[in-house]
Symmetry: C2
Subunit: 274 residues, 2 copies
């Protein structure tokens, strides 16, 4: 009997986000494809992206991608809805490496339910304003009623871990009221932070509203793409996670633990080349 030898020269999957949010996607990927090594870049020095202009987000996303490519990743996931909305087409055009976003998988998951007729979307102001979800949904299914709602206070509340605080409920009630009034049957959680709100959302929404989130749908889409491109790691090894941040704040480790549901391990300081 010999011990299983871990494959060598396995190339990592690269992920980037403005901060911790993308770790919900990482967690979903680790559950679905545990053998994959993951290199995660959080641009914490310049977070958040969700409130900034398309031009600035495209500049930052380009720098993030170049950092990951310089580390030799085999594919890149834009684990941030705002960056996907504003920068993905340009990134895919510019770089040869496979680059996936979180919007297409979410749109596919919404449309997987044939009965979906009234879809609410909650997201940062940047994502809502881009109309990326609204366009993608409307193009694929005619007659859908689509209601986008910018929910800019949710990320700060989640990052404070105030999910159970009365203020979060007060904020959510204001944000959800117009969607409930419009009788939505599906709510797209179009920000990678929002899966942490699912228990509270279930309480505040009518029971028959279906929740679709960016994290799990993106992981499933990624697995299909890696299989198609013959890039999936199929050995029985346990993949490693390496986290690089542009700013090392004292809060990140606790936040990362909350998003990953386990210790994030050692965290490195990233310097982006511009």
């Amino acid at each position: 009997m010999f011990a299983t030898v871990a494959a060598v020269n396995v190339s990592s999957l690269g992920f980037f986000d403005s901060g911790v949010g993308g770790l919900t996607v990482v967690r979903a990927v680790q559950e679905l494809m545990p053998a994959e090594d993951i290199l995660y870049l959080g641009d914490t020095a310049r977070l958040p992206y969700g409130s900034k202009s398309p031009e600035t987000i495209r500049q930052f996303a380009g720098e993030d991608v170049r950092f990951l490519i310089s580390r030799g990743v085999k594919a890149i996931v834009v684990a941030c809805n705002t960056a996907t909305a504003h920068a993905l087409p340009q990134l895919q055009e510019r770089y040869r490496i496979p680059i996936l976003g979180v919007i297409e998988p979410g749109v596919e998951a919404v449309l997987a339910c044939e009965n979906a007729e009234r879809v609410g979307i909650i997201a940062t102001r940047g994502t809502i304003r881009s109309h990326a979800y609204q366009h993608a949904l409307a193009l694929r299914r005619t007659g859908l009623m689509i209601h986008g709602q910018a929910t800019p206070l949710l990320v700060p509340l989640i990052e404070e871990n105030w999910i159970e605080h009365p203020a979060t409920r007060a904020v959510l009630k204001t944000y959800l009221e117009p969607l409930i009034e419009k009788g939505i049957d599906t709510l797209m959680l179009a920000c990678t932070h929002y899966p942490l709100l699912i228990p509270v959302l279930r309480e505040l929404l009518p029971a028959d509203v279906r929740l679709v989130d960016s994290a799990t749908t993106c992981a499933e889409h990624l697995k299909k793409e890696l299989t198609r491109l013959n890039l999936l790691e199929t050995t029985a090894r346990e993949g490693k996670l390496e986290i690089h941040l542009t700013d090392l704040s004292e809060e990140f480790e606790a936040l990362a633990r909350q998003f990953l549901k386990k210790s994030p391990g050692r965290i490195h300081r990233a310097v982006l080349g511009g």
Copy 2:
């Protein structure tokens, strides 16, 4: 009779902040010294500063100061408590131009009341963690009871203009409760955004708690310093305000109007040299 001719070659006062907050200081300066030209830099591409590490804030503040110096300002105001706390001593050491922060004036104003015994400080996590106010107060008056409270959700709520929303009251109640329990007689609003909360704070705090804010105290201190350095603009001209931002978002103009209580005029895109 001749029309008054505006002075030429008048040099501006330079202000910088991560975003809109510093405009409360600008407004106070405009009221006190209406003849001064003001050049304001908001580093909106990288805001907020309040949650980031001292090292990152010092790097950003250095770039902000170099931008203002390259524009020929006669003095610089660090119109941000977190940047003052982490970067002011280093900036003053490095550059010859007069550079003032918002902390010293606030501390002086707190101590101007001889009866102050129990002082609460509300600020970003970065400012509280720096202990800049706590140290400055404790050094000047022995026996003071000082209670610092990080209040990281206030800036996002103010920037949404949700000042009257029940969520803001719920957040403030949680933040103020430990300060009220400790029987504070003075509350230092140690973030340039917070003057907008004064009406709500007056409602939620016992009537005898004195509020001290960074904006008006800084303007008064600046006037004294400019007089001492013989840099005060003493003509009857009306000063101009020029705003430069590193990211031009659609929200900024409305927010700026709220902070300045008037139109911000034309806004320029700033590119920092690093």
